[in-house]
């Protein structure tokens, strides 16, 4: 227990530190789901082991004096775990509320009449996919400003990109990663990486339809320039994004796909480690509880 109870936390730290180079080398479709699973498991695992650590404060209750020598954990650690749990709980509630609120808003866009492509009469260039409630549902929302900024081939790439988001159900991965990052703030970089891999996957989907990697790269560049030129397009400070359009364009123009399957195994091994450690810690915890009950 002295080691295993901290392992999910350690795995989260290692994931957070290594996720940037990992994300760039993972095959997008497989990688985004493997990373999402890793984030969820690391998130839940950390919450669970924190719960175990926190409940070991029980040894401070006079009636359970016997527990004092059984518990191999410092009180400070237990208090830290409790604080971590509290923060995670508050952040999770906020995240769930935000997700539900956004979904409700987006549902109104989904309910608009028309086909899958919803053109919006707005001069500011913008485009995004609005997830639906079932596979193949959802809308592609594009402003008139964006359509005018692109040529025919680039519009084809844009539509294919957003349709890939919908068909591959990326919104599920993004929501899960968002919740994992709320439970465990260490996983925020992992959530960003899942976002990046979703975009990469959609870019590859666009390549499959448009037939040219360069065309998709140019569509990204044209759209990004149009968005940046329209000053009011986004209140976000430029450079806010850890993974940007440049990374996606580089990936599209790379002569050889740089994806490595080996990295999937690395993430998988880390995830398994977190699961095993959580089980081990649970077993030890159950042993302590058993002895306490016998007294």
């Amino acid at each position: 227990m002295t080691v295993s109870v901290y392992l999910p936390l350690l795995v989260s730290v290692v994931l957070a530190v290594s996720v940037r180079p990992l994300a760039k080398a993972l095959p997008p479709r497989l990688g985004l789901w493997v990373l999402t699973a890793a984030a969820v498991i690391a998130g839940v695992g950390t919450v669970w082991t924190s719960l175990l650590l926190g409940s070991l404060l029980v040894d401070d209750i006079p009636a359970f004096d016997a527990a004092e020598r059984l518990v191999p954990v410092d009180d400070m650690m237990s208090l830290g775990a409790a604080a971590f749990l509290g923060t995670g709980a508050v952040r999770s509630c906020l995240a769930v509320r935000r997700l539900l609120h956004t979904r409700r808003r987006l549902r109104r866009l989904n309910a608009m009449p028309g086909g899958e492509l919803l053109v919006v009469a707005d001069p500011r260039p913008d485009a995004f996919a609005v997830p639906g409630s079932r596979a193949g549902g959802g809308r592609v929302v594009v402003t008139q400003g964006m359509l005018r900024a692109l040529d025919a081939g680039q519009r084809r790439a844009l539509i294919a990109h957003e349709r890939t988001h919908l068909r591959a159900r990326h919104s599920i991965a993004l929501s899960l990663a968002e919740l994992a990052a709320a439970m465990n703030p260490l996983l925020v970089p992992v959530r960003r990486a899942v976002g990046f891999l979703s975009e990469r996957d959609a870019d590859e989907g666009a390549v499959a339809v448009a037939g040219s990697r360069r065309l998709v790269a140019e569509a990204l560049a044209a759209a990004a320039r149009a968005r940046s030129a329209s000053a009011a397009a986004s209140p976000l400070a430029p450079g806010f994004h850890q993974f940007g359009v440049v990374d996606r364009v580089s990936a599209l123009l790379a002569p050889e796909p740089v994806t490595r399957l080996r990295h999937v195994w690395i993430v998988g091994a880390m995830t398994l480690l977190a699961v095993g450690a959580a089980f081990d810690a649970t077993r030890d915890f159950a042993w302590i509880v058993q002895i306490l009950l016998r007294h």
């Binding site: 866009l109 609005v130 349709r163 499959a208 560049a221």
Partner: protein
């Protein structure tokens, strides 16, 4: 990566509808089916373009003007105005800050702009 141009997969109906509708939106005025065919800029058959325009017309997404055979098409604007209000309502609440909104591109900083140009030029020359 092998060149995909030779074996290009057929595009789905949804993709084609989107391309044709977006071509109409990108244009300055009403277009004939032949103009749409040119604006979509690919090897699409005239019949396909015509079929999809008719389908879009039936769904109320485009207006058809003029006599049959020499009709011109333009996108229906009403729904788009309402959609614009809805979109602003979504974006103004900061929905785009959560990762759930899958946006095509972010804005660029000056450094990113330069890096982007370098990446595209390196390959092109």
């Amino acid at each position: 990566m092998a060149r995909r141009d030779a074996a290009r997969p057929r595009r789905s109906a949804g993709q084609l509808e989107g391309e044709i509708l977006s071509a109409l939106w990108a244009a300055d005025g009403p277009m004939t089916a032949i103009e749409v065919q040119a604006a979509v800029g690919d090897d699409l058959a005239y019949n396909t373009v015509h079929t999809i325009l008719t389908r879009l017309h039936c769904k109320g997404q485009v207006h058809r003007l003029g006599p049959a055979g020499r009709s011109t098409y333009k996108p229906a604007k009403g729904a788009a105005e309402v959609a614009a209000e809805q979109m602003r309502a979504v974006l103004d609440t900061g929905a785009d800050r959560g990762e759930i909104l899958m946006r095509f591109v972010s804005t660029l900083g000056a450094a990113e702009e330069a890096a982007l140009r370098a990446a595209l030029d390196a390959e092109g020359s």
